[in-house]
Amino acid sequence: MDIIEFITSIFTSYTLRNVAMGAAIMGGVSGALGAFAMLRKQSLMGDAMSHAALPGIAIIFILTQLKTAAALFLGAFVSAWLGALLVMVVVRYTRIKADSGLGLVLAVFFGLGLALLSWIQRSMGANQAGLDKYLFGRAATLVQDDVITIAIFGAVAIILVVIFWKEFKLICFDVDFAATLGFPVRFLDVLLTSLIVLAIVLGLQMVGVVLMAAMVVAPAAAARQWTDNLAKMVILSALFGALSGSLGAIISATARGLSTGPIIVLTASAFAVFSLLFAPNRGLVWDWLRRRRNNRRLAAVRVLEVLHDLSQNHTNPQHPHPTATLQATLPSYAVPVTLKRLESEGLVKQPTAGQWTITQSGIRRTYQLFNDEQTSSSPNQSQEVRA
């Protein structure tokens, strides 16, 4: 399929349109709420709660024999929410820490879910095939009703975030301050957690229980690298989520046999990795380049200094010194490379091969660099030195 045909098919094909829209909404909602989860250091809450949703899906199915999205949402939501509640109780009232609480709920609930699914498979037969998609996600099974359900619940979540914006912002950054101002911190905590649960449950059908957690973490991790402002971060995170949701779902729906969850997750993770490496300011590549430049400059200054000192200590200022001597004086610098670089700038020369001496312009540069270093290390310019 060529690219034009592919793009038109997104707008004309029923399946693709459903898939793209459903996944975009799902990704947007989980991205937005994931930003809050990340700031509250609850990124892994998503992992635990998505696994905890599984027994709910199975129980609702056993009770009602229904496979409609809305019914299963309800079961998934209640069960994931109970899991979240259990984590909160365990962390609040015992000495068990959050990570153990999360891991425990994750494994125990999921184990229960698997046992129930196997029971459904054995006693209800082929019907179970429909529930299978909740493990790794099947985008192609999305119908219009599912998209409408996702859109309604997603809209509710986003509207609540907008209404409680100020309160959520406060409990993300300073819970104690929020409590002293008289905000109902416990209620807000439960509300925000419930919304995160809701976002997770929305994506289960597409991304699957196992990988849904990544949709809470990856878009937020990407967005965090681009801004320090909460509003911008939430919007960016929602955008990244929506984009990776629809891109991933479309890719997996067009290729046969691909599980949707992993493709969506890889798309979102690609955004995150790219942002970690290349985002302005926080990008690790810029950091690395800056550090390399500084190291080079420092090595150049040190080598010039040493050569200058040596020339001062000899009756003949042009007396050459072997590379090994210089390396021994400056053991922690890459002396040979630095010498080559300085030579190309005409700051040092080799009267005989492997024997180095400083040139006139090298001496001038030494004083200049030395003065620069003196000024740049003065306190009022300290932010320059940091890198």
């Binding site: 990124s43 184990g111 965090r224 890889l266």
Partner: protein, 369 residues
């Protein structure tokens, strides 16, 4: 009991004990979710081993590859954390889904017809334990026993050799570093143990049960004891009884055994959560109530003592007066005064309360505090 039932439970117990040993330290180090990350990304190593190096499922090299991919996860997570761009939990949540997704995509694309299947990974089926057998010294032994038994022995030997190091780096990393132990080295050693255990468990019981058996029994034990040795023994015990009871429940309901055992670890945890003598919810609730009551009695005694032999004594000692002064509800006043009278701290006289010698003594100790 058939020999199959014995084998399944036996393998279950071996897995449970093998998981409990590293599990205790994961729980104590707040690194429990790392086991989740490792158990998932182990699949990546297996898939790469099978696809790229054409290793047989069950080959020791495959176990090595898988364990290495577990360590790769730990290393990548540490790398992201060290860069300072993401917090600990976000780093874990970012890294392991990437490896797991890659593994599943590879399976989807290249291995649709082979016997690797993403479901096997998570579900695992302990019921197959008696079927897969290997011959050792002419005897036919279930493979699960051999693999998990070896891993259990390795874990046990490592634990005995490095017990002191593990203990000190867990409870006081800075002291350990000051004494010359490398916390990083011990950390990676522990993670190697987790990876190998996860890989073995993965093949025989599924990733989810491995996570459950590492975290839940250790958490249960943590609620019951303050002693590290006892915590290890108790978590091995709770893991084992989860395996045995889980097997019987799954047998009875005819459902997935691994899932049921995982659920059973949760049942024992819930029991400990509610009923543990010192750290359980019930004990904490009772203790909080008793403390509140004791405090109320002390307040009462102190109040009476403060106004003893003063002109206001008559007024200050009347029961109705406490309502305003101490801001107590009528039930609380009745309950507190009754308790104070019963324990012989005060006695009633014409609708007023008067301190006894014992009550005066208590008030003095309260004041001296």
């Amino acid at each position: 009991m058939s020999s199959n039932a014995l084998i399944i439970q036996g393998v279950g117990i071996v897995v449970a004990v093998a998981c409990a040993l590293p599990g205790v330290f994961l729980v104590l180090r707040r690194a429990a979710m790392v086991s989740d990350a490792i158990s998932h990304s182990v699949l990546f190593g297996i898939v790469v081993g099978v696809m790229a190096f054409e290793l047989e499922v069950g080959s020791p090299f495959l176990i090595l590859m898988a364990a290495l991919s577990g360590l790769l996860t730990v290393w990548l997570v540490e790398l992201v954390i060290k860069s300072g761009r993401l917090a600990n939990d976000a780093a874990i949540g970012l890294i392991f889904p990437i490896l797991f997704s890659l593994a599943i995509v590879i399976i989807n694309v290249f291995a649709r017809n082979t016997h690797i299947d993403e479901h096997v990974v998570l579900l695992g089926e302990l019921v197959f334990a008696p079927i897969n057998r290997v011959r050792i010294f002419g005897a036919s032994i279930p493979e699960g026993f051999v693999v998990m038994g070896s891993i259990l022995i390795v874990n046990l030997v490592l634990l005995l050799l490095f017990y002191k190091e593990l203990k000190i780096t867990t409870f006081d990393p800075s002291l350990a570093a000051a004494l010359g132990f490398s916390p990083t080295l011990i950390y990676y050693g522990l993670m190697t143990m987790v990876s190998i255990t996860a890989v073995g468990a993965f093949d025989h019981v599924g990733a989810i049960l491995a996570i459950a058996l590492m975290i839940a029994p250790a958490s249960t034990a943590y609620l019951l004891t303050n002693n590290l040795k006892w915590m290890i023994i108790l978590s091995a015990f709770f893991g084992s009884i989860s395996a045995v009871s889980g097997y019987w429940v799954s047998n009875w309901l005819d459902v997935n055994t691994s899932g049921t055992i995982a659920a059973m670890t949760g049942v024992y945890f819930l029991l400990a959560l509610v009923f543990a003598p010192e750290h359980g919810l019930l004990a904490r609730f009772i203790e909080a109530t008793q403390r509140r009551r004791r405090f109320a009695v002390e307040m009462l005694v102190f109040h009476l003592f403060n106004h003893e032999n003063t002109p206001e004594q008559a007024n200050e000692s009347s029961v109705t007066h406490f309502m305003e002064v101490l801001n107590w509800q009528p039930e609380k006043i009745t309950q507190t005064t009754n308790q104070a009278v019963q324990t012989g701290l005060v006695h009633r006289k014409n609708g007023q309360l008067e301190l006894t010698g014992k009550g005066r003594q208590l008030a003095e100790t309260v004041m001296a505090r």
